[in-house]
């Protein structure tokens, strides 16, 4: 059935840049320190204090802008966004209004293969300062403010309304996050608030050119919530439209407990931010050479890397996408690939057993603490038949647990694969003697009985027997 209504979605991502010091003062940006310990007259907005732009924050911004294929503004200027809130020390935010530092870029969102991909256009990327954090002690008649976050460099990345479904939004965010992590400008940790996302969404009759009334959704603390909130909102707006009711321009909050969006403020209550050029920061012209140097130094980004993994390592498109989705994982794979020849095996292990361990422990590849050379050692032991693949799985788990090397674990636990013909033959004869029923089943034509017998031999050798040899030996003694 053809859908009658389509959604038009634009996303705004706020990214905390991982500079050592804040955007306009020398305070540390370290996370999780005691309240107000990383503050100074400037980020507290004390009378008489003045901002000075952190060069690194600016250079990081340019790096992001270039990676998102944006144009860079010739002249950089900042503006004041005026509004009152206790977490905003000056009651204005230094931001960029009519001249964002970059504009007109795009992100190619490739999921489910290149053909299914989509280009999401980036409207603007601008630099601003973060606000502090309000803390509301329970049952208290007051609130507290922690200004450690105030003045942290924040990059706002705004898309054009190019996105048409919650799934596309999710995929865009995943692709964007992947690029940002490759640039190593932010840890992109949504739980810490270093990456935040707001959405603008409207619905219109399919095929219509004009945009519907826009609703802004805030308070979505994970990509999953973005997807859920958008799904809910599309449903809500579509039902209103179908019922011929008016959709109001407003800001709504996502309630992750109730799975609904709720109205926060209407357009009439919207702020007039009274933007004007920040007189304390002098506009400056960007040296073209600096931009070119940053462009040249951009790392290989996820798409290019996936292509290389397919081309150079012979991996499937799927494996390559999974491995390059996360920069640490991709780096890890590259490092392993340098010292281990069978790339397909490597991909299977990393995307299989190691991925399972990462999920179980909720860490990324580095969190497993397995050096590439140690993984290579383990895989080489399978290749030269020192251990079986099955034993290798246990050894890997043990390596992660104890941080011991594969060789050490195998020798200390006596896990070396038995490839000695005489030893295997002894076990095979023993098993055949004890399982006459299966032997006769097999001989009677039930060929699957051999699986049971292999299992018994493996059991007897505590999994150490070379399975291929066991198989051959059994067949030989069963008279084939």
């Amino acid at each position: 059935m053809k859908r009658l209504y389509e959604a038009v979605i634009g996303l705004e991502v706020h990214l905390q840049l991982e500079t050592e010091t804040k955007a306009f003062c020398g305070c540390s940006t370290e996370f999780g320190k005691s309240p107000n310990s990383h503050t100074c007259p400037v980020c507290l907005g004390f009378p008489g204090s003045l901002p000075v732009l952190n060069e690194k924050a600016f250079l990081y911004s340019i790096k992001v802008a270039l990676a998102l294929n944006c144009k860079i503004q010739d002249t950089i200027k900042f503006d004041r966004k005026n509004y009152y809130y206790p977490d905003l020390p000056k009651n204005f935010q230094i931001s960029q209004f009519d001249m964002p530092l970059s504009y007109d870029g795009f992100v190619d969102v490739i999921s489910g293969g290149r053909e299914a991909g989509k280009r999401v256009h980036i409207k603007r990327v601008h630099l601003e300062e973060d606000a502090g954090k309000l803390i509301h002690p329970s049952c208290a008649s007051y609130s507290l403010v922690d200004f450690n976050r105030a003045g942290m460099p924040l990059l706002e990345i705004v898309t054009e309304p190019d996105i048409n479904s919650p799934e596309e939004a999710y995929n865009y965010l995943t692709a964007l996050k992947s690029i940002l992590q490759y640039l190593r400008v932010s840890d992109c940790d949504m739980e810490k608030g270093s990456l935040r996302c707001d959405a603008n969404i409207s619905v219109r009759r399919a095929g219509e050119k004009e945009l519907g009334v826009k609703v802004e959704i805030k308070n979505m603390n994970s990509f999953r919530w973005v997807r859920e909130a958008l799904s809910f909102e599309i449903g809500r707006q579509t039902s209103l439209a179908e019922a011929g009711e008016r959709i109001i321009q407003e800001t709504r909050l996502w309630d992750a407990q109730k799975f609904v969006t709720v109205s926060m403020r209407s357009k009439e209550e919207a702020h007039d931010y009274r933007y004007f050029p920040e007189p304390d920061l002098v506009p400056f012209i960007v040296d073209k050479k600096i931009i070119e140097d940053i462009r040249k130094a951009l790392p290989e980004l996820p798409d290019a890397r996936a292509d290389r993994f397919v081309k150079d390592y012979g991996l499937s498109e799927y494996d390559a996408r999974v491995l390059t989705g996360q920069v640490d994982l991709a780096d890890y794979f590259d490092e392993c690939a340098r010292i281990y020849a069978n790339k397909k095996t490597l991909a299977n292990w990393i995307n299989g057993d190691m991925a399972a361990q990462m999920n179980a422990r909720n860490v990324n590849i580095l969190g497993l603490g397995i050096e590439p050379k140690d993984l290579a050692e383990l895989l080489k032991m399978i290749d030269d038949q020192s251990i079986s693949g099955k034993i290798a799985k246990d050894v890997l788990a043990e390596m992660i647990e104890t941080k011991k090397r594969a060789g050490e674990i195998v020798s200390s636990k006596g896990l070396s694969q038995i490839s000695d013909k005489g030893e295997i033959e002894k076990a095979v004869l023993d098993v055949l003697a004890k399982n006459e029923r299966s032997v006769s089943d097999y001989k009677g034509g039930k060929k699957t009985a051999i699986t049971f017998l292999v299992g018994q031999v493996m059991k007897q050798t505590r999994g150490k027997a070379n399975p291929a040899m066991v198989n051959d030996m059994l067949k030989k003694h069963l008279g084939e």
């Binding site: 009378p47 003045l50 020390p89 009274r274 004007f276 007189p279």
Partner: protein, 431 residues
């Protein structure tokens, strides 16, 4: 305030060793109450020194106290202070000018050797003129604003108020120069300003703008200033008539740009972190409203309202943006004029000091007190006011001179030459 300037060996003594300095109450001094003469900052002790204060301390100056001012430097009479008005030492029924009125009155009445002021539209030069002392507003970007509680960031500049031109040069040698804490401070070498104290104006081209000798200017002021220009001519300067055609728009331009910036600069005074907080608030918005209603005086409220209005969506283009364009025109007037002359001479104020209370009910006529000084701020130019005569009532009259950006040297040279050929600066009020 400078807990005992210790006795140092001669080599270690700074350039202003032992010199008492008074500081306008909008310049932060670490640990000393700094209030901008406003209730809203009562009790505020800055945790840091303004850059100029640091430089003064490093050179051995003795900070003896804070001086009165118009609240947040909003005024030309020193009457809007929450501490009450400062009086003019030459006639205590009259205002000393503003906003740095306390600094100028204290220097004129020998309560200090020198004082720091700040000048956003004439706040150093106008009170200097009305109190018969020297007031210098440096080029925008010559002196660091770090630690100056901002009124209008793109216009504010700290400068000296002194008894004579030599002292002004000595202070400039200490406070001028690049500061990495102020992005608008220009990284340019600082000359030794005492080298400009030369008794010679021969060949100097002094421009006299016809737009500055307007109807309504006090006849004694006009006579005093014209006489001074004649003296400079007699001393060898060449007098050139110039035109600054956009002068008539300066006051209106200023009263859009300055309040707009002020409305944003003053937003931080909300009772959350420091200073005054209303105690009887029932919620956050109520706290904001009560704190600001009780904390700010009328003139501060007037300017915040004016500025907020000018920046509102729908009015921004018509007011703020337009004003910025006119500001550029005014700047261009000066660029053209300075092709024909090295200095521009005008009166500092249209009248000598007026009476306390005379203009408090008429903000517009109060705003016109700065009509001759405002353009220097809009264009970012250095300007000086020096004593150049007295009215029949023994009220001081000031000669105002402007120079090209960063050409304080020519300004000081002409002022010094004039001073050395007159004795107005030596006269003392009969307190």
């Amino acid at each position: 305030m400078n807990k005992g300037a210790s006795v140092l060996s001669k080599e270690k003594r700074g350039k202003l060793y032992g010199i008492p300095v008074l500081v306008k109450d909008n310049i932060c001094v670490k640990g000393e109450e700094t209030t901008c003469a406003s209730r809203i900052l009562k009790g505020f002790k800055p945790p840091y020194d303004a850059t100029v204060i640091k430089r003064l301390k490093d050179e051995g100056a003795v900070l003896i106290g804070k001086s009165n001012m118009d609240e947040f430097a909003f005024g030309s009479s020193c009457e809007t202070s929450c501490y009450g008005p400062t009086r003019n030492p030459w006639d205590t029924d009259r205002i000393p000018g503003g906003s740095s009125g306390g600094s100028a009155a204290a220097v004129a009445s020998d309560q200090t050797i020198l004082a720091l002021g700040s000048d956003t539209g004439g706040s150093i030069r106008q009170p200097a003129s009305l109190c018969g002392v020297v007031g210098l507003k440096p080029t925008y970007g010559r002196v660091s604003r770090y630690g100056l509680i901002a009124f209008a960031s793109s216009l504010d500049q700290i400068g000296p108020i002194t008894k004579d031109v030599t002292d002004a040069a000595l202070v400039m040698n200490v406070i001028a120069g690049y500061d990495e804490m102020d992005s608008t401070c220009v990284d340019m070498p600082v000359p030794d300003y005492t080298k400009s104290l030369v008794k010679d104006v021969k060949g100097l081209r002094i421009g006299v703008p016809k737009e500055y000798f307007i109807e309504g200017i006090d006849t004694e002021v006009e006579a005093g200033v014209r006489g001074s220009i004649d003296l400079l001519r007699d001393l060898g300067a060449r007098i050139v008539e110039i035109t600054l055609p956009h002068t008539q728009y300066a006051v209106s331009t200023y009263y859009i740009v300055a309040p707009a910036e002020a409305s944003s600069n003053l937003a931080r005074f909300d009772g959350v972190q420091y200073g005054f907080r209303a105690q009887d608030a029932k919620d956050l918005v109520d706290m904001y409203i009560k704190t600001r209603s009780k904390g700010f005086g009328n003139e501060a409220k007037r300017r915040v309202l004016l500025g907020t209005y000018c920046l509102c969506a729908g009015y921004y283009d018509a007011y703020y943006l337009k004003a910025q364009k006119v500001r550029t025109k005014i700047k261009e007037d000066f660029d053209r004029a300075f092709k024909l002359c090295d200095l521009i001479a005008t009166p500092t104020t249209p009248t000598p000091a007026f009476r306390i209370g005379e203009k408090t009910l008429d903000p517009l006529s109060m705003y016109l007190s700065d009509i001759f000084t405002i353009s220097a701020n809009l264009a970012g130019l250095p300007a000086i006011s020096i004593p150049c005569g007295f009215s029949k009532n023994s009220l001081p009259i000031g000669l105002h001179m402007l120079a090209k950006p960063f050409d304080e040297e020519t300004l000081l040279r002409a002022a010094y030459t004039f001073e050395q050929n007159t004795d107005y600066h030596k006269r003392k009020p009969g307190l």
